[in-house]
């Protein structure tokens, strides 16, 4: 028995919500329940994640939604790997009968409150980074990006192509934080923040919440919208992944990340290959992770992802529409939860002005 996403919900994204995180979480979860054509009484599971206690526990959301009971709950202390991982765990709970309907959400005052990008993560590896001024997430990803670009023979134009292509989607997305058109000239005129990154290579932090409802394929048949079936999910932490969320001292190869490690399992279980993918939503806290992801997933050969993006292949009329909401770079940093809800909307055929023409198979990281 497969699980499926039947509904998504979100709040507005803003610079300052003026609301509690619990209020945001409740609104997005309530919207996802309604969108799925379900009721609060149907929901028996909630899973979510936070960094340094910047969100609210599942039990608080269950209380605010007046759920009769929870049979399945996870409050994960994780970063951007969490949304897909939690959807996979929700699907597993449903497939094994441990829950019938599971909400997955992320809520944060990520701009007006604690900001993940510059948060001082508690952790054993932190003592080697913060005292020397190596203390923001964009620095860590820039460190990966530099080595990736050198080893794969790519450069600034390839990073720029990602930012430019995704901005074109953001222009079509009413709730996107960055909607002003971006040209290569505009991009190159921006000052370097942490070389090789400029502002347009970085996600834009927002306040808001996103949620989705995972249910059984059987129940999904009665839902008002077509289901987005979870054909496969995979999680991977590679060897020597470090002592904390920002530690990458022991990671051997900065040109490859988790995507190359889980690709065969992910596609294998779904019975498809990288060439069968019709829509891609790739976690993009920074522009470089899209390139690393396209190559890691096997969609592009090593060293060709930048050319792929520059060719227009990731545009709406291209071979593989990618990060169709504008990504975290354009729409805003809902920590990847909005990346998964976008994938669901695409598969369901409900993405409006940014709907990919072919949308039977999507991959999301």
């Amino acid at each position: 028995m497969k699980a499926a996403i039947t509904g998504v919900g979100s709040t507005a994204f803003s610079k300052e919500s003026g609301r509690s995180v619990l209020s945001l979480a409740r609104e997005a979860c309530r919207a996802a329940i309604d969108d799925a054509g379900a009721t609060a009484d149907d929901v028996d599971g909630i899973v979510s994640f936070s960094v340094m206690h910047d969100s609210v526990p599942c039990q608080a959301v269950a209380t605010a939604l007046a759920l009769p009971e929870l049979r399945f709950a996870i409050d994960a202390d994780l970063g951007g790997q969490a949304p897909c991982h939690l959807v996979g765990l929700a699907a597993m709970a449903i497939e094994t009968g441990r829950a019938r309907n599971v909400l997955v959400f992320r809520a944060m005052n990520g701009r007006s409150g604690p900001r993940v990008g510059t948060m001082q993560f508690a952790g054993m590896g932190a003592q080697y980074r913060y005292p020397i001024g190596y203390d923001a997430y964009l620095m860590y990803c820039a460190m990966w990006a530099r080595r990736f670009l050198i080893e794969t023979g790519q450069g600034v134009d390839d990073l720029a192509a990602v930012a430019i292509a995704q901005r074109a989607y953001a222009e079509r997305n009413e709730r996107a934080a960055k909607r002003r058109p971006l040209t290569l000239r505009d991009y190159l005129a921006e000052p370097l923040v942490v070389d090789p990154f400029r502002a347009s290579d970085c996600t834009v932090e927002v306040d808001g919440a996103c949620a989705l409802l995972v249910t059984s394929a059987e129940q999904a048949r009665d839902a008002p919208h077509p289901p987005a079936v979870v054909a496969s999910a995979a999680y991977r932490a590679g060897p020597r992944s470090g002592l904390d969320i920002g530690d990458h001292l022991l990671w051997d190869d900065y040109t490859r990340n988790y995507t190359s490690l889980l690709r065969d399992e992910l596609f294998g279980r779904a019975g498809v290959g990288p060439d069968d993918v019709q829509v891609a939503e790739i976690y993009d806290c920074f522009s470089s992770t899209v390139l690393i992801g396209l190559e890691g997933l096997g969609i592009c050969e090593r060293g060709t992802s930048g050319g792929f993006v520059r060719s227009g292949a990731t545009r709406l009329d291209g071979r593989l529409p990618t990060n169709t909401h504008g990504g975290l770079l354009g729409e805003g940093y809902l920590h990847g939860m909005n990346t998964v809800t976008e994938a669901a909307l695409q598969v369901q055929g409900r993405a409006g002005a940014r709907q990919a023409p072919r949308h039977d198979v999507a991959v999301v990281t």
């Binding site: 054993m124 460190m143 050198i150 070389d195 001292l249």
Partner: protein
């Protein structure tokens, strides 16, 4: 600094104050490792030696911080942080005293030590040609 120092890292920080760089080396597979931890991340063995490192290495990757993140760094930018591959085979993150235009992957570096209030920093500079 140095509130984060823990039982694993204390010997490393203490050695830096003496302007020495020490690393852990696995008693079983002989790999050097950093950061300090209770067992070898390659073979899992707890048997560990603490050995002095030569303080030389090469740039694996680097970033140039051009916009300060916090007031403490306003007077420091631009500065270069590198992932330095020590000759012993493990990596450290460190500031490199070098012009940003002169950094490249593979650049040879020598350790130097900068004393701060209550702690000492491992820093690098390009090796003399």
């Amino acid at each position: 600094m140095t509130g984060d120092v823990d039982l694993e890292s204390a010997p490393y920080w203490a050695a830096l104050v003496e302007h020495r760089l020490v690393l852990q080396r696995c008693g079983s597979c002989s790999r050097h490792r950093f950061p300090p931890m209770p067992s070898c991340p390659w073979c899992g063995t707890t048997d560990t030696d603490v050995v002095e490192a030569r303080g030389q290495g090469t740039v694996y990757s680097w970033v140039t911080v051009r916009r300060p993140f916090g007031d403490a760094w306003a007077g420091e930018v631009p500065y270069v942080i590198a992932a330095v591959e020590l000759d012993e085979g493990c990596r450290v993150f460190a500031r490199v005293d070098v012009d940003a235009d002169d950094v490249a992957a593979g650049l040879r570096l020598d350790a130097r030590y900068v004393d701060h209030d209550g702690w000492s920093e491992l820093r690098f500079a390009p090796s003399a040609p």
